[in-house]
């Protein structure tokens, strides 16, 4: 059982390793599903690999944007560098990029990202044929669907245990760039597509706006919710371990380092306690629920602050939206 933790900076890599993560994922600047502030330069990626390996953990590289066609060759060059530095796996979304990376680095473990939005067993088989060996399960899937996947296909299953559960299926939503998209190339030639989570990593979370609902021009409801909640899994963790899922993944590169450290430590201890308890005895989650409540409150406060800032940013005019070519 792999506990996979996020890192939006080197300090977080260290904190996650020290808190008991089996593996860490980081995103190179411009190439993963978070804004660039929570991504790493290549030099920092190299250091992250060293920190992870020194702590006995693996380092996964998240290159899970839907890039442009012209960005696939530079991605392969970057992957060449990361593989040479000893990266342990890649988290990817674009099916063409996956096919190329697998052909070039056949031994590299490729995780199909949440952004690939793999929803059914036939989907899994498709990605498996491209060389994917681990698949992140959509947050809307049921335990029954996961059990079917586990029994039907030789593939590693990754479950998000701390993440956002969107109104839409993740990876099948472009509400955010419909409202604001800012193009801009970084000094290394990567278009950041700010406003498009699928392409660049900054999601304005417009679903969380205080929407009114109209029938034509008639106001029907003053407030409707396109629900998007952050969640912690707890009750399902023992069931998921029993089911034989391969990886439990914590999201949250944008959260404060101490908070991520606490979340990782909580899940490390929970997993270890469950694995150590006698199988014939029931596992009491009461104590764990109390601990989780203490983490949830600062997490919710941090998330609310971030959401309000993202929505405010979405209302700002795009200063330079010319396609940078």
């Amino acid at each position: 059982m792999e506990l996979l933790a996020p890192a939006g900076n080197l300090e977080m890599v260290k904190a996650a390793v020290d808190s008991g993560a089996n593996s860490i994922y980081v995103g190179p600047r411009g190439w993963s599903r978070r804004r660039d502030a929570y991504e790493l330069s290549d030099e920092a990626v190299r250091e992250a690999i060293v920190i992870a390996h020194d702590g006995g953990a693996k380092l996964r590289i998240a290159v899970n944007t839907n890039m442009q066609s012209r960005e696939v060759p530079p991605l392969l060059e970057k992957m060449q560098t990361y593989v040479a530095w000893g990266v342990d796996g890649a988290i990817m979304t674009d099916l063409g990029a996956i096919a190329h990376v697998h052909r070039r680095f056949p031994d590299l473990v490729i995780h199909a990202s949440i952004g690939a939005n793999i929803l059914n067993n036939e989907d899994v088989k498709f990605y498996r044929s491209l060389g994917v060996t681990q698949v992140v399960a959509d947050t809307k899937l049921t335990l029954r669907e996961l059990a079917s996947r586990k029994s039907d296909i030789d593939v590693g299953i990754e479950i998000l245990i701390h993440a956002n559960k969107c109104y839409t299926y993740l990876g099948k939503c472009w509400m955010s760039p419909y409202h604001r998209l800012e193009r801009g190339v970084d000094p290394f030639g990567k278009d950041l597509f700010k406003g498009s989570p699928n392409r660049g990593g900054l999601d304005h979370r417009v679903c969380l706006e205080a929407w009114e609902l109209y029938n034509g021009t008639d106001l029907l409801e003053k407030r409707v919710e396109l629900k998007n909640d952050a969640f912690f899994l707890l009750d399902d963790i023992p069931k998921l371990i029993d089911l034989g899922v391969h990886c439990l993944k914590v999201q949250g590169r944008e959260y404060p380092v101490p908070l991520v450290g606490k979340i990782v430590k909580f899940y490390r201890e929970l997993i270890d306690a469950y694995l150590a308890h006698p199988k014939e005895e029931s596992f009491d989650l009461t104590e764990w629920q109390a601990q989780l409540m203490a983490i949830q409150s600062p997490r919710d406060a941090a998330r609310t602050r971030t959401t309000l800032a993202l929505l405010a940013e979405a209302r700002q005019p795009v200063v330079s939206s010319a396609a940078p070519l």
Partner: protein
């Protein structure tokens, strides 16, 4: 009623002939809508609603209707395509398999798939069936389109986030036709959760007619069209000004997205685009006519946009008409 389509348009969907001109197609969710629609502006129709299994009499759930619908569309001289669900879970697959069987047996002229698992099913179990890739399949790169071509894809709607420049490059690099949404509400997302169901009692309107209200979520100048599980652009994507550029780039498959629109919308907007495309093909000095704009304006409640085709925020409109058409408020006057 279904009326004969514009079969005179020389279209070679298979890509093997020299008569290639253009194909104008649209979407129809159920039998009632098919019977009420005048399809004369169109060359092809996608049958089925991709968002919800509970959509009223969805072709994809009523296989006798689907069989009849394919036959009616073909009898009218149009190509009949069968679309499939945008986000199918395991429990959707048996019904999708049956819809593919119907499509293969009648036969339909192609199926549209938005899910790579369904593509795999079609490729392995129905090898004679032509496959178009839909906009929810997330084709962003030429490398991705190449993979799908190897799985039998004969046409690709790239993800709506791509610019025309990216689409042109992709289509050229992989030598696969790209289908372009030229008018209508651009899909923005798909959910498994219909928030409208929370209001059935309060409004006294039940599923499956609930999502057929004229629903928009709005806030401080923002607007999106809601269909419960499906969410679309509030503004209508409009490429009327830019048709010559699309044709010059070699595109020929054009879609009027009308899954949640009225038969009048489908017919009137379709007629505008048929005339406009024919004009653009014949006349180098093409300019959109004011009477076309009047129709377009009348049907766009929130305004017009160009989606992501010019590499900008999706709800922006670019072009000489931008000042007049980018946004307007209130219910426009109906067009006869």
């Amino acid at each position: 009623m279904v009326r004969a389509g514009a079969g005179c348009t020389p279209v070679d969907v298979d890509g093997g002939g020299a008569m290639k001109s253009f194909e104008l197609n649209t979407t129809i969710s159920n039998r009632r809508n098919l019977l009420e629609s005048d399809l004369s502006p169109f060359d092809a129709v996608y049958l089925g609603n991709i968002y919800c299994r509970l959509y009223e009499q969805n072709f994809l759930e009523r296989l006798d209707d689907l069989r009849e619908g394919i036959a009616r569309v073909k009898e009218a001289g149009l190509k009949a395509y069968v679309t499939t669900y945008a986000a199918p879970r395991n429990n959707f697959l048996p019904k999708i398999r049956k819809a593919l069987e119907v499509a293969a047996s009648v036969p339909a002229d192609a199926v549209e798939v938005h899910n790579l698992g369904v593509l795999r099913m079609a490729h392995e179990e129905f090898p004679g069936l032509k496959v178009h890739i839909g906009g929810f399949a997330n084709v962003y790169t030429d490398a991705g389109a190449q993979v799908l071509k190897e799985y039998g894809a004969q046409r690709v709607t790239p993800n709506y986030e791509l610019s025309l420049e990216e689409i042109d490059e992709l289509a050229r690099a992989v030598d696969v036709p790209a289908e372009i949404l030229v008018h209508g509400k651009m899909p923005l997302g798909i959910s498994d959760y219909c928030f409208l169901l929370d209001y059935e009692e309060k409004w006294g309107i039940k599923c499956p007619t609930l999502c057929q209200l004229d629903l928009f979520v709005k806030k401080d100048g923002w607007a999106m069209r809601s269909a419960g599980k499906g969410i679309m652009s509030g503004k209508d994507v409009c490429m009327l000004e830019h048709l010559p550029a699309l044709l010059r780039s070699g595109h020929w498959a054009f879609r009027i997205e009308a899954a949640y629109e009225t038969p009048a919308y489908r017919q009137q907007i379709g007629q505008v685009y048929r005339e406009a495309l024919e004009r653009a093909m014949a006349d180098d000095s093409y300019a959109a006519e004011e009477r076309w704009w009047e129709v377009v304006r009348a049907h766009a409640q929130i305004g017009l946009c160009n989606g992501f085709y010019f590499g900008k925020t999706g709800m922006e409109y670019l072009g000489v008409q931008s000042g007049a058409l980018a946004s307007f408020t209130g219910r426009p006057t109906a067009v006869d």
